[in-house]
Symmetry: C2
Subunit: 249 residues, 2 copies
Amino acid sequence: MGELFKQLKAHLEQEQGLATATIVQGPDHIGSRLLIYPDGTTVGQLGNAELETALIPDAIAALWNTRASVHTYTVSQQSAEQSIHYEVFIEGFPPPPELIIVGAGHIAISLTTFAKALHYRVTVIDARATFATRERFPHADELIVAWPDEILSQRPLYPSTAIVVLTHDPKFDEPTLKIALSRHMGYIGAIGSRQTAEERAERLREQGTPAHQLQRIHGPIGLNIGATSPEEIALAIMAEIVAVRHQKQ
Amino acid sequence: MGELFKQLKAHLEQEQGLATATIVQGPDHIGSRLLIYPDGTTVGQLGNAELETALIPDAIAALWNTRASVHTYTVSQQSAEQSIHYEVFIEGFPPPPELIIVGAGHIAISLTTFAKALHYRVTVIDARATFATRERFPHADELIVAWPDEILSQRPLYPSTAIVVLTHDPKFDEPTLKIALSRHMGYIGAIGSRQTAEERAERLREQGTPAHQLQRIHGPIGLNIGATSPEEIALAIMAEIVAVRHQKQ
């Protein structure tokens, strides 16, 4: 168990999400523990492969819902041709919420301030090196000068990850949105008027994005608080991200 | 005019609100200018006392609405027993928005961060010296250790001023709310559950506060974004203050 705990500790220190599954009732292996990561990979073993396979979806759900509860599983016993029951305590530890901001303009600066105050991990991506500077974003956890879709296609995007597209430029925002929509992200927002949003949706539809996916884009972005300044728009966006996270929209 | 401009400049530098009124059409005094302050006092003169009296309400309205427009006034001419017309250009310069936070707990710290990012002037008041410290509130413009109602009764409270009462203690929040309700403030919010808010309203009603005034208190405070942490509650409050300022609630 020592090695497993070391891995658990290292994982939590790296601020990555995981779930633990521990057998608390059953014919054998009481106390055996499995670590389950967001991508479904595992560390450790419970002594029963069928049991492990059965609980992974519940463990991943618990990871994102921060749930801790006992689940009951019925698995076949190879030798005796009869089924046996296990009770497994599953506990989820989600990673800290993450905000990816695509487009390093004025709104992004205020949004970084708000998101950091709310303990989000903040990544700012912009292909334009003059915008994505450390002087403008001293508190961003990551500042990346690159094409956003290339970066996003290479990294894990989770239900705890929010993405806000602020580029005002189809050549950046469309490829970015296509990747975001293909993953299970917690929040996807894109700046632009109602008309811009409709035109963008139309172009994405033509490129093969299904209509039900397009509805997941929040645009016009942000809660309707009458925001006009970049700071107010950032506030409206942050409030919307939190509202969606708490299922209040 | 030199003296008037010096006063205008000094006033704007002190971040106080004022309006200017300039005669642009009329039988005489074209170009004469009057400065009007939020309390209705004036500096300068337009050469016609009746005209000055007539335009003060419009000037105060323009001050708070940031409006700039030409108004027409008809005043009696003492010598000729006939009325004369003036067209006056009135321009409003509101003071920067101000946030007064009563109660220097966790929510107040985050709220100060958000309000400063939105360029609010922030004053934090708490009778408890261990809470209202510079270490906890490095960015507050004013940090006052005193009974909040005593402080508030002595200072101007404007339509551009928002007040948020976070004390969770009737002995602080009730006297504070009574003063806030007696002025023309832009936003009044008080923390507490729906039941707390109702009980507080009942006590204030018993103490003589009219029912229509009590409706001006935002409580439960903040937009409904499912906020649970102090940081999220601060975000919900800030979003509500901005929404009310833009008449979106």
